[in-house]
């Protein structure tokens, strides 16, 4: 593929432009509701919950009806996916939510609004209220994500994985049709 061909499909390329032009203009009638949904989804914990619900509603079924593997593997994989989604969504929601709340509490635009412990000097010195607010919003998102990730390095190993194993084993034990519950020669 030559450079011109690559450019034509790239973000600012002609294929993209043609696609963009075909999209109609869309007026948002109820902007309050639209903005509320957007704001909720922008917060890391709500976003994690939404993604978890999507995973819970499709992934176990896709695993169960996987035609490429035998029935026992499909079932065991479904139970593990179910356990993993429940464990990871639950832990992820709590860790992200706690990080976000912590940052919200300690990163404020001024002392009048609350603690400024985690607010950088550049934001505190900014004189334009609009600019200060948008700088603070970006900083809060970055800080809470870094904080959540740091915590999740530990929770992935200490909580997610053991919780997944525990739940998966419970689900598997409850299904008597699975060969896992019988003595298996291939078990390791």
């Amino acid at each position: 593929m030559n450079i011109a061909a690559v450019n034509s499909v790239s973000f600012e390329g002609s294929v993209y432009k043609k696609f963009f032009k075909k999209l109609p203009n869309k007026d948002i009638v109820n902007s309050d509701a639209y903005n509320a949904v957007g704001q909720a989804l922008a917060s890391p914990h709500i976003n994690r919950l939404a993604v978890g619900i999507a995973a819970l509603s499709t992934q176990p079924w896709i695993d169960l009806y996987n035609p490429k593997v035998d029935k026992d593997t499909a079932k065991a994989s479904m139970y593990r996916t179910l356990a993993k989604v429940i464990a990871c969504t639950g832990v992820g929601f709590i860790v992200r939510g706690a990080s976000y709340k912590l940052v919200e509490k300690y990163a404020n635009a001024s002392e009048k609004l609350g603690s400024t412990l985690l607010t950088p000097q550049a934001i505190l010195k900014e004189t334009s209220p609009e600019l200060r607010e948008s700088m603070l919003k970006l900083h809060r998102n970055a800080l809470s994500t870094v904080l959540a990730l740091s915590a999740m390095v530990f929770t992935n190993v200490l909580l997610d994985a053991p919780l997944t194993t525990m739940l998966a084993n419970k689900f598997i034990a409850s299904d008597k049709s699975l060969s896992n519950n019988k003595k298996l020669r291939g078990n390791v």
Binding site: Y34, N47, T58, L117, L118, A142, M152, G186, N187
Partner: protein, 217 residues
């Protein structure tokens, strides 16, 4: 002690701001992939030590987890990032706009430009604000009148920014839902089923060697 922690927290906040404060895109990308890697590592460890799974199931589940890590990481570049860019462009050009801001466009004779590829709402409004600020009427008026002259334009800018942020969040979430709900499980399962067979062949060969029946293979 608490003074020490306060100092550390302040330093960390300053460092994170100076690194990611102006653009969180790179940070989100790096943290997403790091998070996925840690998660996959922990899950693989969990599968390896779980005695409830058979060897055949482990041979499927480990590549399934690796497949998920690979497909999810690729999906960030192939689905999430392009969707984010498209959403930003739709908001910037006014393809997606609140009714109040559409009315503002009509009042300021900008409605014809709405939705054009090169239209930039913020730039256009900034130009209008600049023109007002340079006008004789604005220069001669008092502070209260100045604020009221600029108010509708600043309000439109603010409303548009909030809607743009919402559009970006909604579009990114929809892309993530499609990825997690459909793309990742379908591709990772195909990948895992292929490697299950390969892994089981290696497993049976290893068992044969360890039980002294190498020559019978």
């Amino acid at each position: 002690m608490s003074e020490f922690f306060t100092k550390i927290a302040k330093l960390a906040a300053e460092k994170i701001y100076s690194t990611f404060g102006k653009s969180s895109g790179g940070m989100l990308l790096a943290t997403s992939i790091l998070g996925l890697t840690f998660s996959a590592g922990a899950q693989i460890l969990g599968i390896c030590v779980n005695k409830k799974y058979t060897a055949s199931q482990k041979a499927f589940m480990i590549p399934q987890e690796l497949g998920e890590l690979f497909v999810s990481s690729m999906a960030i570049f192939a689905i999430t990032k392009p969707t984010q860019k498209l959403a930003a462009k739709l908001a910037k050009t006014g393809k997606i706009m609140s009714k109040e801001v559409v009315s503002y466009l009509k009042e300021n004779n900008l409605a014809d430009k709405r939705g054009h590829f090169d239209f930039d709402f913020e730039k256009e409004v900034s130009k209008i604000i600049q023109q007002i600020e340079n006008s004789d009427k604005f220069i001669k008026s008092n502070a209260i009148d100045r604020v009221s002259m600029l108010a509708p334009h600043k309000s439109a800018l603010e409303k548009h920014e909030i809607t743009s942020d919402a559009t970006s969040a909604i579009a990114t979430t929809v892309a993530s839902l499609a990825t997690v709900g459909c793309v990742v499980p379908v591709i990772r399962n195909r990948f895992a089923a292929y490697y299950q067979q390969q892994n089981m062949d290696i497993y049976h060969r290893y068992r044969s060697i360890s039980s002294g029946s190498f020559n019978k293979i």
